[in-house]
């Protein structure tokens, strides 16, 4: 099989069938081969990295994980496919593509539009992470670490803290830690609802804060440490963040 390698991700079986029919219809002018299919967001993340797909036809509204978030995780792959979003939801599309930078098709899809989008995608690079981040209106539910042939997803609600160290951010769950390559300041903005800054280089999950402890060290300035749920490590609170944090704890029942 030759031609453009296409991967189809849609949760509705008839919608996948329809795309395949259309690809078949336009095969004379634009040969394609289907290298994979996925029925929901997580499956897409699992299957795309090894599929060698050049273009991903990606439904926006899928169970498990929506198309926009899927694209954001896939963007860190070394050979990330170009993405053509497909949606029945014009409202979503307008909101998400106000920058008009990402290509998308409306369901029901027309073969001419599909051919044009594929042609454009064949020469285009995968959408950039920043671009996708700007287009997305919701915070992600996962953070991801791209390995060579797979993407490791860590649910945001499992994360206890995020700590910046030089170029990387260490992501810590109760069980393990990972390195991710996103600026802490962006993470702080995206996850403001779930995380709070305790130090210039550290964000802590609000839900994981159990309390505060005064540092026993007698040297220089006295300071506070955060006591976390499920982790023995204590993290220092900067003097600048302390007043805001103290209120946060006072609010807790």
């Amino acid at each position: 099989m030759s031609g453009l390698r296409v991967f189809i991700a849609d949760d509705e079986e008839p919608a996948r069938e329809r795309l395949k029919e259309l690809l078949n219809d336009i095969a004379a002018e634009l040969p394609t081969s289907i290298v994979g299919e996925a029925r929901h967001g997580l499956e897409t993340i699992e299957l795309v990295p090894t599929s060698r797909a050049q273009v991903l036809l990606l439904d926006i509204q899928m169970p498990g994980m929506g198309g926009l978030e899927v694209a954001r995780h896939l963007a860190s792959l070394e050979n990330a496919p170009a993405v053509v979003f497909v949606t029945a939801h014009e409202r979503h599309a307008v909101e998400a593509f106000e920058l008009n930078a990402l290509d998308y098709l409306l369901k029901p899809v027309r073969s001419a539009r599909l051919a044009a989008a594929l042609r454009k995608a064949a020469t285009a690079a995968a959408p950039g992470r920043e671009q996708l981040a700007r287009a997305a209106s919701d915070a992600r539910e996962y953070l991801s670490i791209a390995e060579r042939h797979r993407i490791v997803l860590v649910p945001v609600r499992d994360i206890v803290f995020l700590m910046a160290e030089q170029k990387y951010v260490t992501l810590r769950t109760r069980e393990r830690q990972h390195l991710i390559e996103e600026p802490l300041i962006d993470l702080e903005r995206e996850f403001a609802a779930q995380f709070v800054r305790i130090h210039r280089n550290c964000l802590v999950a609000r839900a994981a804060i159990r309390g505060f402890e005064r540092a026993s060290g007698s040297d220089e300035e006295p300071h506070w440490l955060v006591v976390l749920d499920g982790i023995d490590e204590r993290l220092p609170v900067s003097r600048r963040q302390w007043p805001a944090l103290r209120e946060l704890v006072a609010d807790k029942p």
Binding site: D11, E12, E13, P14, A15, E17, R18, E21, R39, H40, L42, E43, Q61, P63, G64, A88, H89, E90, R91, L106, K107, P108, V109
Partner: protein, 336 residues
């Protein structure tokens, strides 16, 4: 009930079997008795005393009147509006007069008779006027309800995904594609029909089944619907599109966001003079925060109130990981 079927909102008598109407009459009469007592008595304490005395006289009469109106309601409703009003005033006044004579005896009662008749007739006429205004005030709301139904119901997501699914069927299974387009046509015919008319439960159930058929086409194995309709009274009347939006919500919020198969339960039954409809779907936490669900429920609540006043209710509850919506409404059938 008749009121809702008319097109141009003519004047109609209140439905004397409606709880909302009965409650309003009770409150109005008692408030008036209290006001009269406060007005006539020198001090507030005396006023309360007077009110209690008056209540001992008024309350049994009031119940008697309401009972009579309740019993005669079907006959009164058949009269033309102004004749109906005259009949109600006459009935109420005559009853009051008879009651007074029975309580106080002829000589004493007769002396007070003129006052009672005037008071009672004025009160009845006043209340009828109030109900007329109330209907007038609500009539634009009924027209608006029709619009609201439309706006709340056509979820573009559903329409376009369904069309897409039908397109996928046309080559593989033309017959099923035909059926699906017929279902879609029926669904939209109902969506665009007059929302002010009652429909039969059997029609609403047929609509549910058409809708379910379309969703099944899109979602396949992921959607499992259990129907418990054996005890559903097919002749019951209800406002249109009360149940379909609930099923749509159940699918949209309870089945679609999940990667696994979702079970939806539809149960409709009659219990005495009540009709109870229940729809259950899997509860997905993140989903319930979406605004769409609340909006549809509010819309249905409003329309139930317009059609049944205080006699219908809609409630949502959580049972483990199942989300349940239950509607209870009076069992009414078309009058032959």
């Amino acid at each position: 009930m008749v009121s809702i079927r008319q097109n141009a909102y003519p004047d109609v008598l209140p439905d004397f079997r409606n709880l909302g109407v009965i409650a309003r009459v009770l409150v109005a009469v008692n408030a008036l008795a209290l006001a009269g007592a406060v007005f006539a008595a020198p001090s507030f304490r005396d006023a309360l005393h007077r009110f209690v005395e008056a209540a001992a006289f008024v309350e049994p009469l009031l119940f008697l009147e309401l009972l009579a109106l309740f019993a005669l309601s079907p006959w009164i409703a058949r009269l033309p509006y102004w004749a109906g009003c005259a009949a109600v005033v006459a009935l109420v006044t005559a009853l009051a007069a008879a009651y007074q004579l029975a309580v106080f005896g002829v000589p004493q009662g007769a002396a007070l008779l003129a006052r009672t008749i005037v008071l009672c007739a004025a009160l009845a006429a006043g209340l009828l006027g109030y109900f007329r205004l109330l209907v007038k005030a609500f009539s634009p709301a009924l027209a608006e309800a029709r619009l609201q139904t439309l706006q709340a119901r056509i979820r573009p997501h559903f329409l376009f995904n369904s069309l897409n699914a039908v397109l996928a069927l046309i080559r593989r299974d033309p017959r099923r594609a035909e059926r699906s387009l017929e279902d879609l046509a029926d669904l939209f015919r109902t969506l665009m029909s007059d929302a002010r008319q009652f429909v039969r439960l059997s029609d609403e159930i047929a609509l549910l089944e058409r809708y379910a058929e379309l969703e099944q086409l899109r979602l396949g194995e992921r959607l499992r619907i259990t129907w418990e309709l054996d005890a559903a009274p097919s002749d019951a009347l209800l406002p249109p599109l009360v149940l379909q939006p609930l099923l749509e919500n159940a699918v949209y919020h309870g089945v679609e966001p999940d990667t696994a198969a979702g079970e939806v339960l539809v149960r409709i039954e009659r219990r005495g003079d009540r009709v109870i409809a229940r729809i259950e779907n899997p509860y997905i936490e993140a989903e319930q925060q979406r605004a769409g669900n609340r909006m549809a429920l509010e819309n249905i609540r409003e329309r139930l109130a317009l059609f049944f006043d205080a006699e219908a209710r809609i409630e949502t509850s959580l049972h483990g990981n199942r989300y349940r919506v239950e509607i209870e409404m009076p069992y009414r059938v078309a009058q032959a």
